[in-house]
Symmetry: D3
Subunit: 318 residues, 6 copies
């Protein structure tokens, strides 16, 4: 059990709109902090959007997520889980990108997450664009490929883009599979929709045994049924959870770079995570929140709420 150092500041002591905003009002514990090694789940910001093909702005995501997250309290109202009592959690700060050099940024990120793995800290990241997931996986899954529970409107399984440049936010998972960081047989992608250029991504999925649940199937079957299948596919070995905010319908989460219509409701967006209880989530991220396209702040507040649900999963899976 967590001691009080790792507890969030309560809104009963300091109002929720007050204070320097860390993730969920947790203590800020950079890796050179004396208690860093005690952290079990580290919340991390990845402020980088250098790989997006459409609208930028996700570099501002971590700060907006932190700001919104101070409205989170201590207990999951639906499940009763109290994650800050189950796990020692902390805000590890942001990993600094090089805003004008993608490869340098990816290396900086990978180094950071390899460091977390060495300390046995499980990461929950707030993006940042979806390519940020790749250096996380490189940092924590070099030895054993992970399963993947992936919520998104895009498969992100595309090949090289724009004249051979391999790495974009359209292909982290193709690279993850090709680099042996992910086990394609234990991968499921839920919510896929929108127009496409061709079928090169779904062909890759078929060839590798990756399960894709398109949004039409999702709406037809419902959350419970889809998530039962997801739990079966991902299994009980260590798995990664990647949640692109554009999984959710743009009416709910407009602040993202590549929105696609027809996604789940906010309730469903939360329920899928509760449907993942029992999985062994050893790392996770919530990506593609782009505050400049989020005039009401809804996207950041939903993102922060989803991070709390993911944190509950990770705390239960310790």
């Amino acid at each position: 059990m967590s001691d009080t150092f790792f507890r969030p500041v309560s809104g009963m002591e300091l109002p929720r709109f007050a204070g320097i905003p860390t993730f969920m009002r947790l203590p800020h514990v950079p890796l050179d902090h004396p208690r860093a090694d005690e952290v079990q789940i580290g919340l991390v910001g990845l402020p980088w959007d250098g790989s997006v093909s459409n609208r930028p702005g996700a570099r501002h995501g971590p700060r907006a997520l932190r700001d919104a997250s101070t409205m989170i309290r201590a207990q999951n109202g639906a499940t009763g889980v109290r994650p800050f009592e189950l796990a020692r959690c902390a805000d590890l700060g942001d990993v600094g990108p090089n805003p004008v050099d993608g490869p340098d940024t990816l290396q900086r990120f990978e180094n950071f997450f390899a460091g977390l793995k060495a300390r046995n800290i499980r990461p929950l990241s707030g993006g940042g664009d979806h390519l940020c997931t790749l250096p996380v996986l490189r940092g924590i899954a070099r030895d054993t490929p992970l399963g993947l529970l992936h919520f998104d409107s895009h498969t992100d399984l595309y090949p090289a883009y724009f004249g051979g440049k391999t790495l974009t936010h359209g292909n982290p998972f193709r690279n993850g599979v090709e680099e042996g960081l992910l086990d394609p047989k234990r991968m499921i992608q839920i919510g896929i929709r929108g127009t496409t250029y061709d079928n090169v991504d779904t062909d890759f999925a078929k060839a590798n045994g990756i399960r894709i649940v398109r949004i039409e199937e999702f709406h037809a079957r419902g959350v419970a049924d889809v998530m039962a299948e997801a739990r079966e596919i991902v299994g009980t070995q260590p798995a990664y959870l990647s949640y692109d905010i554009d999984f959710v319908d743009p009416s709910i989460a407009p602040g993202t770079g590549t929105p696609e219509w027809g996604g789940p409701s906010a309730f469903q967006a939360i329920e899928v995570l509760r449907g993942a209880r029992g999985l062994r989530i050893v790392g996770a991220d919530l990506v593609e929140v782009s505050p400049p396209f989020d005039p009401s702040g809804n996207t950041a507040w939903l993102g922060a709420s989803l991070m709390f649900e993911i944190l509950c999963l990770m705390a239960e899976a310790l």
Copy 2:
């Protein structure tokens, strides 16, 4: 039946974007108006947000609700009810708060509603934060406790907050019960969700027999089933209806102080009110609309539309 004095201005005479905005384009009838005693249902603004624990702005709610409400026409499209023919309705104006003194404000509000009761005018208020409900109840329910049909994402059954200050927007209903203004056995709270600090509110509910329908149950059972139970619990004796706009999902109603994800759709938000037909609603409010957080104006327009549905209920219950 109402005479033409109490009829709204029609958009066929004066376009809906024109004119000084009263609630639903009704005549402005302050209590010193010669025809005030004829009013059966009085629409009232309560521009106060001094008890909020998070984001302010609900003091601007009544004006935004009035502005949006001029898009309301004469007849409920779904039920055919024509409330302005069933009841003499009027906009009574705002009750003036003391913006820097909570207790003084509560007393001013209570006095006003006691005056309405003395004149036999049933109130439909537009808030203002949720503590505004308490002085309404004090004004109209001192003699006999009322049933309560309550839509919200929070129970508002919390005890003292922040070092003993009893009255906040987190506890009007606890106080209402403790002061004998509400009959807990005839209370139902629908839509509860979000993170919590602890279970002190639900413990109070259990101890007093208050029925709470969490949002998970709501989504699982559907509107018709939940509202059938609600009608049974509230019964046919006089009841109050309190509708916190944060009952509705924040994708629909972002302009509020403490939004929680996973609420009903707009259609469901309306349908629950139609499911309350037959109840004897003698007073009601729609609270927590905060225009500064509502860039599209959607929250105010939904709030005004819900007030019309509530008005139909009240007109039928005369």
Copy 3:
């Protein structure tokens, strides 16, 4: 099959945020262009809002729709249809209105669409307010009345307004029927809701055999069932499809002049169009997108996505 001239610019060549925005990145082919006669489906902007009774702004709709539409790719993700391979499509530009003269504008529009019919180009228009539909029908349906598949929250079957002025965005379909441009027996209007002044519109529908599916019925029966009936009513003869963006719930599409709560979700808003496969749609429009009331840009992006779905229908129906 289309040759490459009529293909949209790919985002793999020019990023989607780049370039002068035509509808779906199609070539701009004004009617004096040498290849204009080859066009099979012409996308047209109708920048006019002179007939609105409430909030203006739809004159800015076509530009916002074009801007958003550059996020559209080549293939319908759900159905696999590749419309730009099935049909030679082009952006014909805007038809110039006279912003201070309604009758002149209607005549300019009618002339344009009569010209399209003479060239055998099927129109898909982006409005503009809903009265824009009338001159389209006058241009293409003078000889044989069309069936109508109509998505809206209003019937637009109202009679003269405001002292005898016949033409407003509240009555294009009444006029369409009375002028013999539409076959009322093959008309269905889906999604009707909101408050009304009276029943003059539904009385007209009943008297003429127009089928109205109110939103309550829509939600009760679901998309598949309603659309099966719609296909039966509209039949296999040539039909027009008119889609008012206010069919969709305002939480999804706030940027419109007369929003009404309780509409379909974004997924349903798309699914109804997929449910229209097999109909012989010879002309269509998407109207009432008002960018000044659309701070997040969601309404325009949904409008563009719906236009793509309609285009798929029209390409299949060639």
Copy 4:
């Protein structure tokens, strides 16, 4: 001197954010009110934008002006003038336009202002687009042409537009001169700037003796010098003051239909009015506030503040 009936509600009694918003919190006195004949200066809303050539929205201006104007207090801080003690002022409400019929609207407006003249009420109108000025002048200046003090970035002296349609917001003053409502020798237009198509407007000015002060001259000479000339030109006979909000720089007043860069600062925008003290202003308007393009509300708040300065002028000129 005014009695208390005609005094605004004080913010010391009812907070300024509270209450149904009339212009400057004055009593609402429609013309059928028993005390209407006592009114000396009538504030009127003209919610119409049917003549604009670019962006619409000014129909929503009167309501936004009223809403903002509740922040106005009793005394001009700079001059010490207390207009509500000098004159019996009231909010006469809006004059209803016909939103789909320009000529009908102009007639309705003219009738209203002719009625004011008959009652000896001097009008201060809040627009609405600039064509609204013409029916005001027709209503009050049929017998004797007025001088004109005109602040604007456009001369509004253009001839027929778009195929012969005479009346638009680009030509009220040309028509005013041609109809004998304005004395061109006593006209001055200040602030003119922006690109033009040709010189037809300035040619008309020269031919008729209208003085135009371009913005370059304004900035070079300063407020005091320009206004000294203005007072001389307009003279001491009855004059009209017309203030187009686009006179002010768009950084200050973005919410308008045809903004042009390089206008005066807010301080200068106010000072020009103080420089008009001593003129015999018998009617005035503040036009072209378009709330949909005013995300911060600044334009409406400036417009209301300017209306107060104009009201001070009119009260002193009684």
Copy 5:
């Protein structure tokens, strides 16, 4: 000279959009931090708006100021001052208010600032509404009254309001004088403007020898001349600097509760502070930034820039 612990994070190491936002990227040093006693200038957030008479939201000011302040670099471009080398600066965090109890909040604030004085830390606060200044003064000026350099559009010298409630954001300086915390002979208030109810504030100023420079005088004389007088009045004894963001024109700083038109330009808003070099500023604040009314974020970014200028003054005055 400061050691590196007290230096801001450089944007050359961590991009300016990254990282948990403290004031100017300084270390967060709460008072129980081991190095707290070394701090010379403490930046403090005062997230409270419970005393405002009009629009709320300043409780969100400190967070928005911190967020914007990460765009500040190390050196004053105009003066060359490098404050973080002159003084050991730190972000002390927010002082927690009681959001539903004004007197309790004022006591909490006073205690905090008394603690700072005891440690010899000079405070630079970011508000919060203007009443926040009073508990700062109570905390640091109980023994010797301070001079005051005050920029504002209001004098805040009003007496009791709304039935005898003494403390509001309209009267901190009247109370400061009456409580002996300020020396009225060494007080100057610059920028005063806007409508008023009466002259009770200026009468108080005259009676006590407080110098008021109205905005008309300010614009007429210019920054250099006014500030020369200000330096003379305030003198070389310890003084407080209070900067209400509504001193600046609303076109520049719309995000505030009670904006008044006609204020200085942004350049002047900065220059007045450079004109205060040489004064012995021992405490300061920047108040009334209300983010919900600041859609562009300009107000917060200006506020942060002004805080940097003030910090330079304080660092030079050590």
Copy 6:
């Protein structure tokens, strides 16, 4: 003189809000168009923001500039210049960037501008971030270095950043000098301000003879005096004009990545360009407009207005 092909569409024929938006409603003439070789001044979009160190979004600049530019008419109101009669102007479209590869993008841009030079088309670009200027200069100034008239709040003379990455939007002009594309003796930078890390940029300027006019000097001397010096420094040989929108005060142009307070007014922002008449401007750009941070659209509209003024300069200099 231009023939009608190269004339903008008039708002008297097609309303200004209508039509596919090209720059200033000019014909779209891609380089493979049959009349491309006749173009004298080519307006070009550079939709790229991959080198920014702070807020992104300038990739969306060209589209927003085009959209706003349709409000431009034919004649400069102040100078009477009619650029479209002096020069054959056209919109050449956007140069496609590679959004995930900076070096590739720079090469694509350079190639394009080298092609323009080969055709003798003078470029007026709309950015994009400020690094876009460098490939323009590489394309057109490889043979003879150009003079530079540069408006900005930053010198953009910084050396390598973030571990040796040479090219960012902070150093195009340092590189331009070092690559021999610019003649430092004929360079003037006007408007410099804001905080800095150190003096490395101004040291470079001094060492190379580049004239810097800080904003304090600009405000003290005024436009006419500063521009007289600028004309002298830049001289009569071919020169480039680069206008960073952040030269202008953020109250006017908030939509940019790195705003700094205290800049010129909108009038001054225009006047400096009129003060450049007589210079031999052979290429120019307007950069750093970032629409996601421009809620009112003011920044784009000002940018388009400035581009028109620059176009007038270039047309006169042919």
